[in-house]
Symmetry: C2
Subunit: 550 residues, 2 copies
């Protein structure tokens, strides 16, 4: 395990010792943030320290505690305040607000660390018998309320099953390009184990450093380079799960017509159907070459058109990411504040203005990975298509900068929260013909709900032949009198706009508690009843992650 | 609809007016077949004529018949002998044997032809109420016992719901590259509607001419060019189904993390969860160029290695198909019999012998489709990798010949059956590291079960980064005393070898009745219980295609 519990923030992002490097330009950055949310001063809103917070009584029957210890080990059943607090909630905006305000009402009664599939089986069976909820927890980075340690109806308590002690590479098949891991392996450890052997999974979500394989599968996640490596449902080959009724496993076939594909049910099951204990995944040879570069477009529509042409032509790209005008402006300004441009860059900026790529421009990042020759060919092909759609190539500088900072942004959230400013994100996907309408509808809904003290940024993060995802970031001045109410209002407005405009309630964040209201109508009555019946078959007592998804 | 009922064989393949063209070399071909199965003479085993067969009593309550007519139209509820016989069974070997022997015991009481989703809903609801089984039927080309019109336990009769009057293109979205069809559209009609508008689905199973969109989805089918166009579960974007409890539909998102992907449950549902009435599919621009050419390899392992290298390198191929030595020899001989080689070809054959590509060689067909430049690049890339693995390029002649004959082979089966000779096929898939072992185990099991009067041929038909499918064809002298017993013996031997050797019970044929015994262990107890619970939620009376899959 790369981290100890002490090294990690229990109420914020990542490592305690790490912060976002503003290169000494803190004043300029916070002035810019203040202006963005239209305040005259940023308030001081520090988080409570753990010592100031009250933990609820555990409420776990003594016999169950004994059974859990017997099933695992004495020192792998934890009940100390830090463990309980660190597993109370996930990393959504409302979760963080609650944690920072000292609300630990949903701290689990205990945190259990199994080391094997069999131990997981024993834990979930014992809990089902005792009618105690089991919350599967990997990195705990859910941003949709997916890991809150809440007991279900008629259940006396909830425990958290932390999977991160199950982190071994079990098998690597260099012929079939597959690898089997225990599911609690952290992102960096997984890549280290693979890359040492010449392979990569290539799954790099923004949460990569603080999330686990099991979580990626459970939440049906997608990495930033999913054009090349696929979302979890594309790379999952087989899975093993612990359920209260016994082991559930799927077999590693490249393709099968033996009925529905249950890997596609494992993906997105969010701990409600079983605890994912092992997973076999497709791996790739570590790419020989990569090329990340940027293009400017005069409009979001033109940039989206370029992505569409490229993906429909089947050009093998790893990533395409298009920021809308507001996002391009915001991050451009931010970057210039922490790394003030030199004379050459200022001159270049003037030229861009003259040729029409100044105000209102949108930046498209294209990432290529693979064999040298393939990257060279793909570069020529993307260049040709991007330029044909009105794109202006601006080189590899912005691409490299993005690549280097791609996991850093979450570290900016905590200092914003310390200053009365909120930042939240949500995402969706839709067919290409519907992308412009959905983009406008959701932007408008968020802006409307938040009022003038806010900014709404958006980008296309993932693309497919038939459509694309849209990722929205919104920054706003917190209503310190009713922070959760303010958030619920904007969340509802955005979700209703998504549902009404033909988007899915989530492209890669998942359902959890926050999207549950919209999940039902999206799947339809028949879909929900099938999934409910399937859950009942595996988890008749409903102890697995109650209140999320199903 | 491209065919009328009268034009189609009720007990054999395709159009009555069409036969396999032996170019006047009938005697040589039948001598070769006779030698292949080691007989001194081929017996005369003609099929019974419909007039000689006895149809069972219908057993449908008069009120239900009236309800079905009211729900559709008087002339769309058929009870005449030809309609009932044509819908009694599918096109598996045992199905054909039963039909040819005059066993129409499973003829449906009636055949209903709805024209809309709403009519389908009314039909399945009325049947559920009357406890009468509903067998969804498109082209009826199932080779796994998937459409036998058999009532379930406690059900008084079975009707067949023929979808082929639901064949309209409902929508084409040229921006998103998706199209929505009614699900009963035949392959040729679907492609004609798309290609007229510049698009293609590219799904060409061997049954293409006599199968439907809904059947492809229900059986989780894969076309011959699935490397480029994907199996049904890759191109299905959304579906609409009629179930006894109401409409079940999925929405057309390019990717979603809103729980499990229910399109992946629709695919492979085999009519047991609902009647697929409409489907939205991904389409591609009609390819500018194509290139089908052949390579010879000295061994099956070397050829398989070439496929693996090409697919793992991500070269955009449409198809790769590698015959083992026995299959290469069989079809090579067959081709030379109906198109005797000229002097040049005979000379070339001698050269191949000298350079080591004579006896025991394996032919690999590689098909490329797409934009001209992309095909050119892929050709250079495949050529380089195939040669590096020991492949000898032999040009586009064999590729063209294969392409032209790719739907014709099933027409050979009926005249074989007329002569006491059987031909059957089965298929599986596995991870690359397991391909050689599975190939050997299944070949051996089939040969062992059939004894000396048989031949076993095999090829890799579909390939993936992590593995490949294996397709077996076996030809044998029928035991005219116990034809079904003989078949059951070889089917069991092959299926047990597949299960024991790490293969799936089907890569693209489906489960039906013939694979049901192996489907359960493959999905596992938990998998089967989930799917059973899901079925119960949609079809509480169990009237949808009973006895197949679930």
């Amino acid at each position: 395990m790369p981290y100890t519990r002490d090294e990690l923030r229990w109420n914020g992002w990542g490592l305690r010792r790490q912060t976002f490097d503003l290169h000494g330009h803190d004043r300029e950055v916070w002035d810019f943030v203040r202006e963005t949310v239209g305040l005259t001063a940023l308030p001081d809103t520090p988080a409570k320290r753990l010592e100031e917070c009250e933990l609820p009584a555990g409420g776990l029957p003594a016999e169950l505690l004994e059974t859990l210890r017997a099933a695992t080990a004495d020192d792998r059943v934890k009940t100390d305040p830090l463990e309980r607090a660190a597993h109370a909630l996930g990393r959504s905006y409302p979760d963080l607000i609650r944690l920072r305000n000292g609300d630990l009402s949903s701290a689990p009664a205990a945190v259990v660390y199994p080391e094997t599939h069999e131990e997981c089986l024993a834990v979930v069976k014992a809990c089902a018998e005792a009618k105690v909820a089991v919350i599967p927890f990997g990195g705990g980075s859910s941003v949709v309320g997916g890991v809150e340690a809440k007991a279900g109806e008629g259940q006396q308590a909830a425990i958290t099953l932390d999977t991160t002690r199950m982190a071994r590479l079990l098998d690597l098949d260099p012929v079939s390009h597959t690898a089997t891991f225990q599911a609690g392996v952290w992102g960096p450890d997984l890549e280290e184990a693979l890359q040492r052997r010449g392979f990569t999974l290539g799954h790099y979500p923004q949460s990569f450093e603080f999330s686990t394989l099991g979580g990626w599968v459970a939440a049906r996640g997608a990495g930033q380079q999913s054009n090349r490596y696929g979302a979890a449902n594309k790379w999952l080959v087989a899975a093993r799960l612990a359920t209260p009724t016994g082991e559930w496993r799927t077999l590693p076939f490249p393709q099968s017509a033996a009925g529905p594909d249950l890997n596609e049910v494992v993906c997105g099951s969010e701990g409600a159907l079983g605890v994912i204990t092992e997973a076999t995944v497709k791996v790739h040879e570590v790419p020989e070459a990569s090329d990340y570069r940027a293009y400017l477009f005069k409009s979001f529509e033109a940039g989206a058109g370029a992505i569409r042409r490229i993906v429909q032509a089947g050009v093998p790209v790893a990533m395409m990411r298009l920021s809308d005008a507001d996002e391009t402006h915001f991050f451009g300004t931010f970057k210039r504040l922490i790394q003030p441009p030199g004379g050459v860059e200022q001159g270049a900026e003037k030229v861009l203005d003259v040729v029409g790529y100044g105000d209102g421009r949108c930046v498209l990042m294209i990432g290529l990975e693979g064999e040298k020759a393939a990257v060279r060919q793909a570069l020529a092909h993307t260049l040709r298509l991007a330029v044909a759609e009105g794109g202006l190539p601006v080189g590899t500088g912005p691409g490299k900068a993005w690549y280097e900072q791609r996991f850093a942004m979450p570290y900016l959230r905590d200092p914003m929260l310390d200053r009365g400013v909120a930042v939240d994100t949500l995402e969706t996907s839709t067919e290409w013909s519907n992308v412009p309408g959905l983009h406008e509808a959701v932007r408008h809904a968020i802006a409307e709900a938040l009022g003038p003290h806010s900014a709404v940024l958006a980008h296309i993060s993932h693309s497919y032949a038939d459509g694309a995802s849209l990722y929205f970031t919104f920054i706003f001045a917190r209503d310190l009198e009713d922070e959760l109410g303010q958030w619920r209002k904007v969340k509802r407005a955005a979700s209703e706009a998504i549902a009404a405009s033909g988007g899915t309630i989530s492209h890669h964040h998942g359902v959890g508690q926050d999207h549950k209201e919209w999940f039902g109508p999206e799947k339809g009555e028949r879909g929900v009843s099938m999934l409910g019946a399937a859950k009942k078959a595996l988890d008749p007592e409903g102890v697995l992650n109650p209140g999320k998804l199903l």
